[in-house]
């Protein structure tokens, strides 16, 4: 268990903050971060020329699969979607898509990184946190409150049947 905690802890910057790296020679962005650039003609060219780079967390679903047979600790979330997300900056990231029923996830869906619990080491153990993805295109509003403050900023009128049941 101690080794798991240590491994998770070492990966904290990239799991918490989407901290990648960028080659200052050819501007290619990497996630997870790399210390040399495989895109440059010789790796030596980029040696010592990689800089930390923060991904925005915005992207779209490039491909996905729906998991019905849960990994340990994910029983509560079945069925859940694991997706490859093409980030705005380029790198492909793997992550769970949350806050949308699995059958509504599609290729091209705009998503953004959200901070969530990844797993718990039992009831008494450490809780691990990191990024997942949630829809950046809002599903249609459930319904307007009786005393609405202002039209919603998305500007799209809300069809009543847009209400979703999980």
């Amino acid at each position: 268990m101690a080794t798991t905690i240590a491994r998770y802890w070492r990966e904290t910057p990239r799991r918490y903050n989407l901290g990648g790296s960028r080659c200052t020679v050819c501007r290619t962005i990497y996630f997870p971060p790399r210390s040399v650039c495989p895109s440059c003609s010789t790796h030596r060219q980029s040696l010592g020329k990689m800089e930390p780079f923060q991904l925005s967390g915005e992207g779209e679903v490039y491909s996905f699969c729906t998991v019905h047979d849960a990994a340990e600790g994910f029983e509560m979330e079945v069925p859940y979607v694991l997706a490859l997300v093409k980030t705005r900056e380029g790198p492909l990231l793997t992550g769970q898509v949350v806050d949308l029923p699995a059958e509504r996830v599609r290729i091209g869906l705009k998503v953004r990184a959200t901070f969530r619990k990844l797993r718990e080491e039992g009831k008494a153990g450490v809780i691990h946190y990191g990024y997942k993805f949630s829809p950046a295109e809002e599903p249609p509003p459930h319904r307007r409150p009786g005393r609405s403050s202002e039209p919603s900023r998305s500007g799209t009128p809300a069809p009543e049947e847009g209400r979703v049941r999980a």
């Binding site: 903050n17 029923p101 969530r116 459930h142 809300a158 999980a166």
Partner: protein
């Protein structure tokens, strides 16, 4: 020297459940319960959400909106009664997740539903004395009521984060006042899963007395009266208490229209008054005067007298999600899924 709010952000989980659906399971008149509490829906956190994730989401929006360098943050205080760990701070995970570590101080606050407003006051002191440039005050909760208990119809999840500073203020905090006594209206002992409350005692001697006395104290300190404010926000354990206390104090529905969010998302405990304030700030015009009166069981009230500055219009308040989206949107759950999400189903084992 002026101290106030530089930026802010709110977050409410996406799932919702109605009082009618809860009542259906317990053989109670859920719709009647919802009507008497003035709660139409309440938010439900996903199984992978807790006070740490809610605080982080709210703070990330606040920092991006205000273009705040996280390394300039000198303190982070998270007020909650549902910190995921009994020992190990919420604030350190949040600090790491927004890139504020390591040169800052951090701590978790606990005072029932008013720990977030206590965090704002602490940040005001640190910022006003020049000890730090930015202080972060967060109020967030994922509170639960025991199944079938009256609290289950309203207890929900959400939070808001405020960046307190001296420059580029969108709202100056002109005064703050507090009113605190030892009152046993609501509590949860160490190791207990659900809180206990002393029924009707939670009303008059607790919420109403503290909020009223604290508001009156604020009028004295600030030399103001209800008609001087464009907006007022009260702690809102349900949709009825704040309406009633507002009326008693002489406020109109118009002054409360943005500050009252519980009818649409439920009682977010430490988040409640702060999400109300975030909703007010989403709509505030320069020079608008705002009164906030929080309440925490146990018991105490903190009040703030604020006025919006010219800069409120310059902040990109549409970045992230404005509070109105949380009030209008959501995915409605049946009780069974809600019970699964909230860990109310006994799974075997110990």
């Amino acid at each position: 020297m002026d101290v106030g709010i530089v930026s802010y952000g709110a977050y409410v989980p996406r799932y919702r459940i109605t009082p009618g659906e809860i009542g259906r399971v317990w053989g109670a008149d859920g719709e009647g319960m919802g009507a008497s509490l003035n709660v139409k829906r309440k938010s439900v956190p996903a199984p992978d959400e807790d006070t740490i994730t809610i605080s982080t989401e709210a703070l990330r929006v606040a920092l991006l909106r205000g273009a705040i360098d996280p390394q300039e943050i000198g303190a982070i205080y998270v007020g909650s009664e549902s910190h995921p760990y009994a020992v190990k701070p919420t604030a350190t995970v949040v600090a790491q997740a927004v890139g504020a570590t390591p040169y800052l101080t951090a701590a978790d606050f606990e005072f029932a539903c008013k720990a977030g407003t206590a965090a704002i006051q602490t940040c005001m002191g640190l910022v006003g004395s020049g000890m730090i440039r930015y202080g972060i005050a967060i109020g967030a909760d994922t509170s639960q009521g025991a199944p079938g208990d009256a609290l289950e119809y309203s207890a929900s999840a959400g939070g808001a984060a405020f960046v307190i500073g001296r420059e580029h203020l969108i709202a100056r905090i002109r005064h703050t006042a507090s009113y605190t006594t030892d009152t046993p209206d609501f509590w949860r002992r160490e190791g207990q899963r659900y809180p206990s409350h002393s029924g009707r005692f939670t009303g008059e001697p607790a919420f109403f007395r503290h909020v009223t006395e604290c508001a009156r104290r604020m009028f004295e300190v600030a030399g103001t009266q209800p008609r001087d404010y464009q907006h007022v926000v009260f702690h809102q354990p349900n949709g009825k208490f704040p309406q009633r206390v507002g009326k008693q104090l002489g406020f109109t529905e118009e002054q409360m229209r943005y500050g009252l969010v519980t009818p649409y998302i439920g009682n977010t405990y430490s988040g409640a008054a702060l999400i109300g304030l975030a909703h007010v700030l989403d709509h505030a015009e320069p020079k608008d005067r705002i009164l906030v009166v929080g309440y925490g069981s146990g018991a105490g009230s903190d009040a703030f007298d604020l006025d919006a500055t010219e800069e409120v219009g310059e902040l990109d308040r549409s970045f992230g999600q404005p509070v109105s989206e949380f009030l209008e949107q959501g995915i409605e759950l049946p009780y069974a899924v809600y019970a699964k999400f909230r860990g109310k189903i006994h799974m075997g084992g110990s």
